[in-house]
């Protein structure tokens, strides 16, 4: 329930638990965890620093969360995004969605991740053996996010399945 932007790590198991604690109407929980990948394997550490825009970040995440709750019949949502210096293997982001049925949980979780990738004001500064550089945005992320805008596909939940 809600949004956190924090330097500290989070606990996916506890977040899943909290999303459905005490309820018996949720049949489906979907949880996504994003991790720092070692972009230059074998070349030693390739840590990164996540910069963000305090204030706007929280606003954007809350708006995205409200949008997901408008589109799908969700019983719980949770977004946690870290900032600061992170090493390969570290957790960056968590999204949890809960619903009566699995399709709403899966779709809304994907939706939230696609929008986070393209709208939430975070920027990655990558450390490589050649020095630091700002990670460039990927066209494929834009494409992934844009599918939720077209009226043709998946903009409203398809027929419900459990």
């Amino acid at each position: 329930m809600g949004v956190s932007v924090q330097r500290e790590d989070f606990d996916p198991g506890r977040e899943i638990e909290a999303a459905v604690a005490g309820r018996t109407d949720a049949g489906a929980v979907c949880c996504f965890v994003g991790l720092v990948r070692d972009v230059v394997p074998g070349a030693g550490a390739s840590a990164l620093t996540l910069e963000h825009y305090p204030g706007m970040t929280e606003r954007q995440l809350e708006a995205i969360e409200a949008e997901a709750r408008d589109r799908w019949p969700l019983l719980a949502t949770r977004i946690v995004h870290r900032y600061g210096r992170l090493e390969p293997g570290d957790r960056i982001v968590l999204v949890v969605t809960a619903s009566a049925h699995r399709q709403a949980a899966f779709e809304s979780c994907e939706f939230l991740m696609d929008w986070l990738k393209t709208k939430a004001p975070f920027w990655k500064l990558e450390e490589t053996p050649e020095g630091e550089h700002w990670v460039e945005a990927r066209d494929t992320d834009e494409a992934a996010a844009s599918r939720w805008q077209s009226s043709g596909q998946s903009s409203v939940p398809r027929e419900i399945k459990s």
Partner: protein, 83 residues
């Protein structure tokens, strides 16, 4: 008007945050993006390709025709890469 720069817009301008008093003709986001490069080579470099600069006014994404007021907080940054 408060200006914020993030990621490589900060590196190139050398500024994280500043307060500016743009000339009266600067009435929209597009006007601001046209005016800033005239302030020096760092700004010119940062804004060389305005197509890759995103703008938020008062912490909401804003289009080029978005009007600007004196007290606005305007942020300039590249396409986001979180998640």
């Amino acid at each position: 008007m408060k200006l914020l720069y993030f990621a490589w817009l900060r590196s190139k301008t050398g500024i994280g945050q500043e307060t500016v008093d743009p000339p009266e003709e600067v009435r929209t986001v597009a006007d601001l993006l046209a005016w800033l490069p005239t302030r020096g080579p760092g700004f010119a470099a940062a804004l060389a390709n305005p197509a890759v600069v995103r703008v938020a006014v008062n912490q909401e994404y804003a289009r080029p025709d978005h009007p600007l007021r004196r007290g606005d907080e305007v942020a300039l940054f590249p396409p986001v890469t979180g998640g």
